[in-house]
Symmetry: C2
Subunit: 246 residues, 2 copies
């Protein structure tokens, strides 16, 4: 049993267990662990199945990329009823941009799971996004389209996709809040603290005070994101006031 | 009632009924007819909803394109376990090529359904594929992903997608059969006849005789396709013999 665990466990530096850690990241229990194993197998492992076909994440990446694209398409279709085909295409490419996917893969610390014979320091940045896409492919095969859709909604869209920000209408909620406070001569404080909670991952918490009153909280995997999250919440809480001033 | 029918009925030149004809094409009963109405509305109609958003097929085309792409991706992923990411991407772009989609739209005679203020003769060829994509988007919204997947499998993949042909390994089954017969000094006859059956659409039937013996039948919306279909069936029936000779 220990032996099997060791085989499954490539995130061993964290002393974890593949299945458990994966469940933590996914927010559900994987059924067919083999899909996920494949999603974290780099081609340098040179694995083959009984028929001689390569076993690594690249084909799953192809599949996950397509699923991600159609799920995001449906989301944008619903979310922006006024957007024409050109607008929807442009927004989709922003959401599934290489940069965005790499950020996602990094935040989920997927690289820790990857089995490779190449030193991981030598991978470029794109491996984060590629493995994330492969993971989406694995989820789709394991649990079907609608399940995969819910995963993308809760893990990609909800925390990462802000239409107004993507449209460039709002560059940063933090800067909006600061501008508002300066115009209105209010004091403000983004009070950042480390907040590991029960997670394996490092998180940051932020409390945003305006005129010494707690207005909103945020929590994310980086300081900047946690601040942005708190600022966004504050923005929506104070929207009518802010819109009058700015 | 007659009045409502008239509104719904843009294929009126065929004297049909939108719902019935659509059911015939789809192979299932649509639930929310409004999605399909939209899928056949050209922007020249200049329709708007209560909120001022444009009502035409262009947004559905965006959605359908994405769904088609992910469904074909999954099909290729399963069908060609030896294909790497580059191969799968190349094959997908062949299956969902503009040319291929236009052919599909034409075969289904989707243009007959389209409501437009522009003379349909002035549309380019791409309208066929665009409306087909919009129809896929409508099916997805109406019945969900898995239903849409089955539709694509039965209406696109099964009749149109031949991996070997797409790979360029087999240019034409008809030419294979001819080559085989010539080498083996066998007579052959592709006996083509019109076969309307109970369909609204014009179909062609083909009987393929080799040495005066009926070997295979084919049926399709063009002579060429019906011949190819019969030839493909004959090829698989005689594969071991043919492979020995060619």
């Amino acid at each position: 049993m220990k032996f099997i665990r060791k085989i499954l466990n490539s995130r061993s530096t964290q002393g974890g267990d593949f299945f458990l850690e994966l469940t933590n990241i996914l927010g559900f229990k994987p059924r067919e662990i083999r899909y996920y194993k494949k999603a974290f197998t780099h081609r340098s492992m040179n694995r083959k199945d009984a028929k001689g076909n390569s076993v690594n994440y690249e084909r799953l990446e192809f599949l996950g990329d397509a699923m991600l694209s159609s799920i995001i398409s449906h989301f944008l279709f619903n979310e922006v009823p006024s957007g024409d085909e050109g607008y929807l295409t442009k927004m989709r490419s922003k959401v599934v941009s290489r940069e965005h996917l790499n950020e996602l893969g990094k935040d989920l610390r997927l690289l820790d799971f990857v089995e490779s014979k190449i030193n991981k320091d030598n991978f470029g940045d794109n491996i984060h996004g590629n493995v994330f896409e492969a993971l989406v492919g694995a989820i789709y095969l394991d649990r079907g389209y609608e399940f995969c859709q819910r995963f993308i909604e809760s893990r990609v869209i909800e925390p990462y996709v802000d239409i107004e920000q993507l449209e460039g209408k709002i560059i940063s909620y933090k800067s909006l809040i600061i501008e508002y406070c300066q115009k209105e001569k209010k004091s403000f404080l983004f009070d950042v603290f480390e907040d590991d909670g029960n997670d394996d991952q490092k998180h940051f918490g932020v409390k945003l005070f305006i005129d010494k009153k707690l207005v909103a909280k945020g929590r994310a995997t980086s300081k900047k994101k946690a601040e942005e999250s708190a600022a966004r919440r504050a923005y929506y809480a104070l929207q009518s006031k802010i819109d009058r001033v700015l």
